[in-house]
Subunit: 189 residues, 2 copies
DNA sequence: GCATTTCCGTACGGTACTGTATGGGCTATC
DNA sequence: GATAGCCCATACAGTACCGTACGGAAATGC
């Protein structure tokens, strides 16, 4: 029996799962330990306390989110194509189904707030810049970015909260393509 | 000292506040009792257990949401005007700042799910009907409704999660009017 | 003005989680 | 094959919440 070791990353992934399913207060050590098949002795070896786990999980999400978000699009030259693939990737990806809605919902938590504001700022700036490259003046580009980002947020919320009610948002269903086309036509100037 | 009594409705409002701030697991009896200035003895007079409080708070939200949502718009004859005032009301209203995002975020909770699916179904149906009245064929109306509702959801999420990052979503700020106009132009066919 | 209903305080046992202290098994290394 | 460092189990307070049982004050009906 190899008795595979539990790593620090395992704890962070477990915390993200718990965060996606049960929110901030669901990130508790004992249940995650049980799910990982160890006791809390392992946890307190890697982390100082429960808050350190939450911060680690959020910052892991932040880094992966921004790295996979922006750097993957760099090779695409055309701004319009960049916007379209950006949206397709963002709206059909897996994103640990529900992590982001859970984070947004707990914006009142001081730990969550600081990470979420960094991510939101970065994304809105990126979108604003993109729409400016498409010819919109700065104010219009900014408003377009806000509207577009709102549509993105709501889309993944809808997909998580009621996939059966709005099957158009399901990542793999047959309805998703025309619905995505429709949304993209609304959002591209 | 009149020592005002605590009503069942007070408990439901307190539960909604707690739900908006801390999610489902934040709806706990003892803290709400402290905030109301009574002990848990009052609670167990009105409610069977904690879950009954959660269900009551959700159903109160559902009824107020649908009543104030649809019936207020009935007197407006023009579909386009109905859509526009609907959106302005929904996006600038107070909505117990954050109740809805919190509910959406906890869609995995079985108690939340049933209420949320009812509300989502009703709203999407209403929007689909509205766009059909504006001349769109059934499939296009449905897609337009999904896109529009996603924009609504994301807008209020954004407004709650990062009002300082996206001041365009603040209900009273000077930036909200042009941003809303922009969004409405994108979403009206 | 008495009895009844309404509403709330108090006290109890139980559960689930937190953080700490401590010790011991495993693995690598030489 | 002894040693050092890594990883985890166990045991022990301490906290916060739940649900129940019971009792009493305060309003209300007649």
């Amino acid at each position: 029996m190899p008795t595979v070791k539990v790593t620090r990353d395992d704890w962070l992934r477990g915390a993200q799962r718990a965060l996606a399913e049960s929110g901030v207060s669901g990130v508790s050590v004992e249940p995650i330990a049980k799910q990982l098949g160890v006791t809390r002795g392992s946890f307190y070896w890697y982390f100082k306390d429960r808050e350190a786990l939450l911060v680690g999980a959020l910052e892991l999400w932040e880094s992966e989110e921004t790295i996979g978000f922006i750097e993957e699009l760099a090779p695409i030259a055309e701004p319009l194509a960049r916007l379209q693939t950006l949206f397709r990737e963002a709206l059909t990806g897996d994103l640990i189904a529900g992590l982001e809605p859970a984070i947004v919902a707990h914006a009142s938590d001081p730990v969550v707030r600081v990470v979420l504001e960094r991510v939101t700022t970065r994304r809105l700036d990126y979108l604003t810049d993109l729409f400016a490259q498409l010819g919109l003046d700065p104010a219009a580009a900014r408003r377009q970015a806000v509207a577009t980002y709102a549509a993105y947020l709501g889309w993944i919320e809808l997909r998580r909260a009621a996939p059966d009610i709005a099957p158009e948002t399901k990542g793999s269903g047959p309805l998703v393509e025309p619905a995505l086309d429709h949304l993209l036509r609304l959002l591209t100037p």
